[in-house]
Amino acid sequence: MSLLNVSDLQTHFKLPKGVLRAVDGVSFTVERGETVGLVGESGCGKSTLGRSLLRLETPTAGHITLDGQDILPLKGTQLRGLRKRMQMIFQDPFASLNPRHSIGSILETPLQVHGLGDRSQRRRQVEQLLDRVGLPRSALSRYPHEFSGGQRQRLGIARALMLQPDLVVCDEPVSALDLSIQAQILNLLVEMKREFGLSYLFISHDLSVVQYFADRVLVMYLGRIVESADRRSLWSTPRHPYTQALIDAVPDPSRHRQVTPLSGDLPSPQNLPSGCRFHPRCPRASELCLRQEPALTDLGGGHQVACHHPQTSVISFLH
C-alpha cells in the first residue's frame, strides 16, 4: 500500500467572477521513502495541491488516503493527529517564522500542541534536532531576524521534523536562497530523509533541481498533471510537449544564444482553454486538442502522459 494515495483531487475556489480551478482532477501516489517532485510554473496549482494534502486548503472533491485512511473527512483531534504525520516546509523562510517568538519556542510549540513529553524532554528533543540541522544551541534564545535565509530554512526544516512525520511537503524550499546556500539545504534534506525515513513531495518550478532531488517527477499545468515518470526517463524521453518546453527552458551552456522559447503566457485558471489546456501554446496542437481533453494514460514502465500527440522517444528504440 502506498503511503499517500491521491485520487481525482479537486480544489476549486469560488470567486465573485466565477470558479478558480486551482487543482482540477489530480491523481498520484507517494510510496514510503520516496521523493516525488512536482514541477510547474506559477499559477499551475502546485502549491494549492501541496496545501490541500495537509488540509490547509479544503479540497472540493476527490480522495486522499494516508496509509489507507481517508483523511478528507477528518476533523478536530483526528485532523491534528494527521498533521503530526504530515508536515510542510515553506518557501519563504522570512515569512514562515513568527518574528515575536524565540527559536526555542518556535521549535517546542509542535511538541506542546501535541502534548508530547514533559518540559525537559521537550527541551532535549529541541536541542538534538537543532544540533542535527547544524545550528548552535545558543540559537534557542534568539529570534528569527537574527538569522540568515539559509539558517532560517534550517529552522523551518527542524520545525517540520519535530513531530517525526512520515511525509513532508517541501514547497519551493530553496528558491528564495542564494545558490551557494541551496546546495547546503538540499544536502541537509537528503540527510534528514535517510535519518528519519521520510517521504517527500518536493514542489519546485525548477526542473533541474527536481531532477537532482526527486525519484519520480510529476509535471503540472493549469491544475492537471500532464506527465508523470521516473526522473531519468522524464529527462531523457519527455513525451509531453510542455515537459519538453520546460527542459528546453533550462539554460544550457552548449546552446549559446539558441533557444526556441515556448510562445504565449499561462492562461488564467479562471478562464481555461477548451479541450487540452495546453493547446494554445502547443506546437503539436491539432483540431482534436481543441475539442477533447486528453486523459493521463500509461505508456508503459510507469510513464504516464496526458497528450493526444505525445512525442515519440528516439532513445526508447535503442533499448
Binding site: 542564494d178 546546495a183 525548477d206
Partner: protein, 332 residues
C-alpha cells in the same frame, strides 16, 4: 560581433557610512556585446548598476573610480546632463516590473512619456510610437494593449513593457538588473531571447546583472564574477564554465544541480560552499578566505589583485592561478 568600447569602468568604489559594498571594480562593455555581472545577494552587483546610472541611495556615494561612457566621465557630469543621458543613452530595467511601473497610468502613457521627455514628440505621435514599441517587444495586439494598466498584464508582459520603455530612445547601453528573476521559466526564456534580439538589432551594449549562472552561460559574451563587493574572476563563458579558476566560481558551479546534468541525490551530495557571505564582513585579505578550501596564510593578509590568467582572463586567486600565468603575476 563586438565593436568599440562603450563603457569603461575603472576602480569603482561605493561607500556607505558604515561599509564599502563595492570596491575597486573595473570592467568595460563594447557596443553590441553582452557583459554579465554575476554574484549572490550582498555581492554589490545591483549597487554597481545604480552607480552607473548615478541613482545610488542618498546614504551612499561613489568614493573612487571613473565611469567613462562614450568618452565622457559620467561621474563628472552635472545632474541636468545626467538626466538627459538616462533613458536616452542608457536604459535600465529592473527585477520587479510591477513596482517599477506606475499603477495609475496606462502602459502606453508611460512609454509615451519617455518619448515626449527625451525626443520632444507630440502626445499623438508618441502614442503611435508606443504602439510600435509594444509590437517590437512582441506584445500581441498592441493597439489594444497600449491602453491597459499594469495590473491587467501578466508578469512577462509587464517586463516587456519595461523593456519597451527602456529601448524607446534606442539607447546605446541597456542595463538589465535581474530582468527575469521574478518570471516563470518558460517566460524567462522568451524575455532573454527578446533582450538578445534587441541587443543585436540596435547594436546596444547590454549589461546583464544576475545571480543565475545558467542564464550567464547561455547569453553572455563576457562574465564578471563578484563576491562581497569585489570582482574575483572575469572570462568568456566557455572557458569560465569549462575551467573556472577562482575557488568561489568553482564552488558555485559545483554546487549547482543545473550545471551537472544527470546528477542525483542517491549518487552523493552536492558539493557545498561552506559558511555564508556574512563571513566576508571585516575580513582582512581575501573576502572568500573563510569559505575557501585552498586558503593559505597569505590569503588572510592582503587582498589579492586581479591577475592575468590566460588570454582575456582575469582571476583574483594566486593559489589557483595556472602555472603559466603565475610568472606574469605581480603580488602586492
Amino acid at each position: 560581433m563586438s565593436g568599440q568600447t562603450l563603457l569603461d569602468v575603472r576602480g569603482l568604489s561605493i561607500r556607505f557610512p558604515q561599509h564599502d559594498p563595492v570596491r575597486g571594480l573595473s570592467f568595460c562593455v563594447n557596443a553590441g556585446e553582452t557583459l554579465a555581472i554575476v554574484g549572490e545577494s550582498g555581492s554589490g552587483k545591483s549597487l554597481t548598476a545604480l552607480a552607473l546610472m548615478r541613482l545610488l541611495p542618498r546614504a551612499a556615494r561613489i568614493a573612487e573610480g571613473e565611469v567613462r561612457f562614450n568618452g565622457h566621465d559620467l561621474l563628472q557630469l552635472n545632474e541636468q546632463s545626467m538626466r538627459r543621458l538616462r533613458g536616452r543613452e542608457i536604459g535600465m530595467i529592473f527585477q520587479e516590473p510591477m513596482t517599477s511601473l506606475n499603477p495609475v497610468y496606462s502602459v502606453g502613457w508611460q512609454i509615451a512619456e519617455v518619448l515626449r521627455q527625451h525626443e520632444g514628440l507630440s502626445a499623438r505621435s508618441a502614442r503611435l510610437r508606443a504602439v510600435e514599441l509594444l509590437d517590437t517587444v512582441r506584445i500581441p495586439d498592441p493597439q489594444r494593449r497600449v491602453d491597459d494598466f499594469p495590473h491587467q498584464l501578466s508578469g512577462g508582459m509587464r517586463q516587456r513593457v519595461m523593456i519597451a520603455m527602456a529601448i524607446a530612445c534606442s539607447p546605446r547601453l541597456l542595463i538589465a538588473d535581474e530582468p527575469t528573476t521574478a518570471l516563470d521559466v518558460t517566460i524567462q526564456a522568451q524575455v532573454l531571447d527578446l533582450l538578445d534580439r534587441l541587443r543585436k538589432d540596435l547594436s546596444m551594449g547590454l549589461i546583464l546583472i544576475t545571480h543565475d549562472l545558467g542564464v550567464v552561460s547561455q547569453w553572455a559574451d563576457r562574465v564578471v564574477v563578484m563576491y562581497a563587493g569585489r570582482e574575483v574572476e572575469q572570462a568568456s563563458p566557455g572557458p569560465l564554465f569549462e575551467h573556472p579558476l577562482h575557488p568561489y566560481t568553482r564552488g558555485l558551479l559545483a554546487a549547482s544541480p543545473r550545471l551537472q546534468p544527470g546528477a542525483h541525490y542517491q549518487d552523493g551530495p552536492l558539493s557545498e560552499i561552506r559558511g555564508s557571505i556574512a563571513s566576508a564582513i571585516g575580513q582582512q585579505g581575501c573576502a572568500f578566505a573563510p569559505r575557501c578550501p585552498h586558503t593559505q596564510a597569505y590569503c588572510r593578509i592582503a587582498v589579492p589583485p586581479l591577475m592575468d590568467a590566460g588570454p582575456k582572463r582575469l582571476s583574483a586567486c594566486p593559489v589557483t592561478l595556472p602555472a603559466a600565468a603565475t610568472q606574469n603575476a605581480n603580488f602586492s
